[in-house]
């Protein structure tokens, strides 16, 4: 069998081209990886001619060459994801919320690098990597900016929860920035989860326990010392079930919803005639499954209304 050594390797070239096919072009790197892995997993036996044409040894079946290609896909995904995260941290995450939640203090210069390292650690962990898929998709998209300002203007449940209950005085832009930060920190909560503990469908999205989060918080905080523990807690606590944990901050609840929404985003999806819009459909389904996924049903109601009013 051949090893994946460089981009001149046919397997690496194949993986690279696979992730750049028009069908996947609009997806974030991690979602591309999920798609590519699914095709390999579901069609392995039929792909033997493909493996052969790549010069792979298929004498022992399809699993070994598929595993080799999977590794190449993952390596290529990591490379693409690093570019995405760099772009995200430099242009889409300003940490402008920092003074509002850290006693007026500006974000330290190394804060973004620490966040980058935290995300990189999550990407290297199987469960956290799965959680990162939805988080990155949400953070890279405009979904957060789309919903926070209208929710602010409505001055209803979400506004009241943030300004009066959580007592945060942030502008909609800062709140969007904070939400993006929360969804990016969220996968770190799964860093200490043993792979295989949850069902495949829940990997990276099953609610965690408060006691568990309290235990892992020091470890996470030590990796990102520039961030106040309260900020990191907002990200980690977005994995708590609501209303199971009544004290979950509103910002964490928004982060949980956005990360979940990011997981289902499909930029190239075409809305059939007779079908409702993607956001409206998704929020409506989640309103009914709010308790199942541990999401705030009143927030989902409000987001559903915003989606319906705007035709999203």
């Amino acid at each position: 069998m051949r090893a994946v050594e460089s981009s001149s390797d046919p397997v690496s070239r194949f993986a690279s081209r696979l992730l750049e096919t028009p069908a996947l072009r609009l997806l974030p790197a991690l979602q591309k990886e999920v798609q590519a892995m699914n095709v390999l997993r579901l069609n392995g036996p039929q792909l033997l001619p493909v493996f052969t044409s790549l010069g792979l040894n298929v004498a022992r079946g399809w699993r070994e060459p598929a595993a080799l290609i999977s590794r190449a896909i993952r390596a290529e995904t990591d490379r693409m994801m690093a570019v995405e995260i760099s772009g995200l941290l430099s242009s889409r995450l300003a940490l402008s919320f920092f003074p509002g939640v850290a006693g007026g203090r500006q974000a330290p210069a190394r804060a973004k690098e620490e966040l980058r390292a935290l995300i990189a650690r999550a990407a290297a962990h199987p469960v956290a990597r799965s959680a990162l898929s939805g988080s990155l998709a949400a953070a890279l998209s405009d979904i957060i900016e789309k919903y926070i300002p209208p929710a602010w203007e409505r001055k209803k449940y979400m506004y009241v929860e943030i300004t009066r209950v959580q007592r945060l005085s942030l502008s909609p832009a800062d709140l969007s920035d904070l939400t993006r930060f929360i969804v990016l920190v969220r996968p770190a909560a799964y860093l200490y989860v043993t792979p295989g503990e949850t069902l495949d469908k829940d990997v990276g999205y099953s609610p965690l326990q408060e006691q568990y989060l309290l235990k892992i918080l020091p470890g996470i905080a030590s990796q990102a010392p520039s961030f106040p523990a309260a900020l990191l807690k907002m990200g980690l606590r977005s994995t708590l079930a609501f209303p199971g944990s009544e004290s979950v901050e509103a910002t964490s609840r928004i982060g949980a919803i956005m990360a979940m929404r990011g997981r289902a985003l499909s930029p190239s999806a075409v809305v059939d005639r007779g079908a409702d819009t993607p956001d409206k459909s998704w929020f409506n389904v989640q309103r009914r499954n709010a308790r199942w996924h541990g999401l705030d049903d009143r927030m989902l109601d409000e987001l559903y209304t915003i989606a319906a009013e705007n035709g999203w």
Partner: protein, 375 residues
């Protein structure tokens, strides 16, 4: 092979659209008094279309028979429409017209040769109406790519509506022709017969006949030519060249009474028939357009679209869009089912499968094969 078939289907659709234009112009040319030259062209083009559709029908029927699908093609796939809109039209309409055109180039010289043809043309003129059946053939060529169910539903309904319109009108015309129901031509023909008899009353002597013909023709502007049977013309309203320029074979009426032949101008009746034809043509086209652009979208919106969305949601793990339920139709059975789909099925699907949360499965196995070839 498939591309060739698609190309031929496109050619047929284009031909149907063109033949509809031709059908309109056929009547309009009479109504507008177009020249003989232009109307001759319309007759030849009509013959071309009828030959084309006859070949199309025979080809389809032959292929269907070769595959043991003859009955299915003729009855279930509306081969009978193809048949009615081709062979009878060719044999009863365009071919006789074309033959008459060839035979009756000059009135005086050609009188004897096309008299019988004239009668045939008059008898089968009503068959022209079958051409409107071709409108429903359009449904086979035009595909609602996004709603095959709507097409499958609207197409037979349109066929039924247009067929009833056309076949009833055809039947009524036949009944009129055989005298079961009174027609507009009856009194007119009776008047012509009476005047022909009045002319023939004086005998066949040319000198007497010409005076009598002139006297009667002064009272009836439709009388064109009078002559003893098989003899030379004794009276004519116009010079022979005028007939050549302004009259097609179908524009003449002919009566034989007491050994005297009388030709009369049938253009006023043709104009009246053309007017009726145009009204009927517009009625059929409007019926089809109404089904196509009013009923079909309604059917799609209320029936096939919600079913299509539910089908995708149930068969594709990554398709989770809800059915949009219009408030005014919320009580329809389909939308009540859609409400259950939205409120029960999709949430259950969301709980049960992680695939439902992921992006749509954009990547196909063939993408990998193509990539391997390039790598």
């Amino acid at each position: 092979m498939r591309k060739v078939a698609e190309f031929l289907e496109t050619v047929v659709v284009v031909a149907i659209i063109l033949v509809l234009v031709h059908t309109f112009l056929d009547d309009y040319s009479i109504l507008a008094g177009w020249s003989v030259r232009a109307r001759s062209w319309i007759i030849w083009i009509g013959l071309g279309f009828d030959i084309f559709f006859t070949i199309e029908f025979l080809t389809r029927f032959y292929l269907a028979l070769s595959n043991g699908q003859g009955t299915r093609y003729f009855f279930r796939e509306r081969g009978w429409i193809d048949f009615l809109a081709s062979i009878p039209l060719l044999l009863l309409n365009s071919l006789p017209h074309a033959l008459a055109l060839l035979a009756g180039a000059g009135l005086v010289s050609g009188l004897g040769s096309f008299l019988n043809v004239l009668k045939v043309i008059k008898a089968v003129r009503i068959a022209r109406i079958l051409r409107l059946l071709r409108v429903v053939k359009l449904f086979r060529g035009i595909r609602y790519a996004r709603s095959p169910m709507a097409q499958g539903h609207v197409s037979p309904i349109t066929t039924i509506a247009v067929s009833i319109l056309v076949l009833w009108t055809l039947g009524a015309s036949v009944m009129e022709g055989v005298g079961i129901i009174p027609g507009i031509e009856g009194p007119f023909s009776e008047g012509q017969a009476a005047r022909a008899a009045a002319i023939a009353q004086v005998g066949r002597t040319p000198s007497v006949l010409v005076q009598r013909a002139a006297a009667v023709a002064a009272l009836d502007a439709t009388i064109l030519v009078v002559r003893p049977q098989g003899g030379a013309v004794v009276w004519s309203r116009y010079a022979p060249a005028y007939y050549t320029e302004y009259f097609l074979p179908g524009d003449f009426g002919y009566l034989l009474s007491g050994g005297v032949e009388v030709f009369y101008d049938q253009r006023p009746q043709s104009v009246s028939a053309a007017r009726e034809g145009l009204v009927f043509f517009v009625a059929v086209v409007l019926t089809v357009l109404a089904f196509l652009f009013v009923y079909a979208p309604r059917f799609a919106m209320q029936i096939s679209d919600p079913i299509h969305v539910m089908k995708r949601g149930m068969s594709e793990s990554d398709y989770n869009l809800e059915v949009r339920i219009p408030a005014e139709h919320a009580d329809d059975d389909v939308f009540e089912l859609a409400a259950l789909y939205n409120s029960v099925y999709l949430p259950l699907k969301d709980r049960l499968g992680n695939e439902g949360q992921g992006p749509a499965p954009a990547l196909k196995i063939n993408d990998l094969r193509d990539l391997a070839d390039k790598t």
